[in-house]
Symmetry: C2
Subunit: 159 residues, 2 copies
């Protein structure tokens, strides 16, 4: 527990762990979402920073803007918020919860339709060209590589 809480991380370690780039982490810092310690000039991330980053990444996947994530982190960290700030933040936050519930339904629906489509494609392929089926992924990659020799796509940016 304390052993974990005392761990520190380099920028690269966190990048690998969360599939982000160093540029992104520095950018988040610029925006006030992170504030790692420094050893000289080099950033040293604590496990608390790591937890924050985890929240950030989750927020990004969901589709929140960095500004929204910033607001939420402040909220969860229970920083200096007086009642007035809370009175302002509460309805906004309630609205976000509603939006999230809508999104939940959207995604459930999307998964359903998408899985049907996948199954249908698989059946169709199995019927007409079963040879393309088991290694469909390899086949696709092969085609892609013939098209353009761009091999550098470590992660989907999306958004």
């Amino acid at each position: 527990m304390t052993a974990d809480d005392l761990r520190t991380y380099s920028i690269r370690q966190l990048c690998r762990e969360f599939g982000a780039t160093a540029r992104a982490l520095r950018f988040y810092e610029d925006k006030g979402l992170l504030d790692p310690a420094r050893k000289g000039q080099t950033r040293v991330y604590s496990s608390k920073d790591r937890a924050r980053l985890k929240l950030i990444m989750r927020g990004r996947r969901i589709g929140f803007t960095l500004a929204e994530i910033h607001e939420m982190i402040d909220l969860y960290d229970r920083k200096e918020h007086n009642v007035h700030q809370m009175a302002v933040a509460l309805p906004r936050h309630r609205a976000r919860v509603d939006a999230l519930k809508q999104q939940l339904e959207d995604i459930k629906g999307a998964i359903e339709t998408a899985e049907e489509a996948c199954d249908w494609m698989e059946r169709t392929l199995a019927e007409h060209r079963p040879d393309l089926l088991p290694g469909a992924e390899d086949y696709a990659r092969l085609l892609q590589e013939r098209m353009n020799p761009d091999h550098s796509r470590p992660f989907q940016t999306r958004a």
Copy 2:
């Protein structure tokens, strides 16, 4: 049934129904996501166009790019896709399904934390300043209006 399928819609009608702008619909058309009929110069949307728009809006809320949505619509419309296109599309689509499932979990978690935060704020407010609580929304709006007289924000853009 046929009665519904024969209905047509003006651009404004669809805008109001889905909370989009006319500019957005035309933009989607530019990108090949919609292709309404024309009466003279004016766009006339069919119920099939409406269904497509519904898919588009859902996709946007989920966070898909227009390019991805385009690909999906083509898929679901079962347009001219030969087996080769399918062999390419299938793994990509499977990957998206996985991403969606990840997103589903993310959102469940986010809803949970967010609701806890809301409840906590509500309790704290009720304890210290119950006067700000029932009309918290009005209070917030009031504060906002004092800050900046910007009253034109019909919809959240997000993205």
